[in-house]
Symmetry: C2
């Protein structure tokens, strides 16, 4: 008998991840913040202070839109603009405590929701997911490396 090699079903994986994407996006927001605005906040919380240019590269909108979003977030006390010591033209944007609290609150909601779901898995299923977590982490890291190569193209997103 030849050995069975269960090859990874990428189509199925894509499908599942698409469905997680919807699940995550649907999360209600307390604040009256638009999708892109929350995304900017999330990026800043995750990656630390960034210049507007770098923020623009990581979102799906123009530099002009990012400027307007940051202005709005600043008015609401969720981010702060500061000078970039290494470049007089640039602006460094950083989240405030209030801004970080919003991102972390949303993450806590997702964790709570996922916890409820994983609680219903069998121990074997939970173990399978736990065993795959390092590999999944490596996948997103590989992606980050690759998109870091080029400047990061403009795009228009959607589910």
């Amino acid at each position: 008998m030849s050995q069975e090699i269960p090859e990874l079903n990428v189509v199925g994986l894509t499908s599942v991840l698409e469905r997680f994407t919807r699940m995550f996006i649907r999360l209600p927001s307390v604040q009256r913040l638009s999708f892109t605005t929350l995304s900017v906040l999330h990026t800043l919380e995750g990656r630390g202070p960034m210049r507007l240019t770098d923020l623009t590269a990581s979102e799906q909108v123009t530099q002009s839109a990012v400027t307007q979003i940051v202005t709005k977030l600043e008015r609401e006390g969720l981010v702060r603009r500061g000078p970039d010591p290494s470049d007089g033209r640039a602006v460094l944007v950083r989240v405030t405590a209030a801004g970080a609290a919003i991102v972390r609150g949303r993450r806590a909601d997702r964790i709570a929701h996922l916890s409820e779901l994983t609680d219903r898995l069998s121990p074997a299923e939970r173990e399978a997911v736990a065993a795959a977590l390092p590999a999944l982490t490596r996948l997103v890291e590989l992606d980050r490396e690759r998109s870091g190569e080029d400047g990061g193209g403009r795009a228009r997103g959607g589910t």
Copy 2:
């Protein structure tokens, strides 16, 4: 010695899934379709013909916005409106071949992108992901069941 039980790290899982979400959302779109518009198209392609009300429940916008989005998609030949045989007030929206082609094209891009990434995993890592796929699938199914219970509340999304 007591047996080591590697419990599932839900926080880590949430974090990884958040990062996949960003990766998927950033995908460039050929057409000039907004985020929500693409989402509607995706929903219709995945779930089959739906009434406007049901579409509204599954997206993060008002019924008014859904009506306008469907009107725009219909003008572009990507969906078609039809009567609901079981309810004279209702409208059944279905994707056309052109609309489905767009959704499937985007999915193909995601599959291709994920394939490139999984190619770089070790065989052991690929196997771990493959082994977890059924459990991950069950997670999204559990979610669907749960959100099917209530009517599906309105929400405002973000990453």
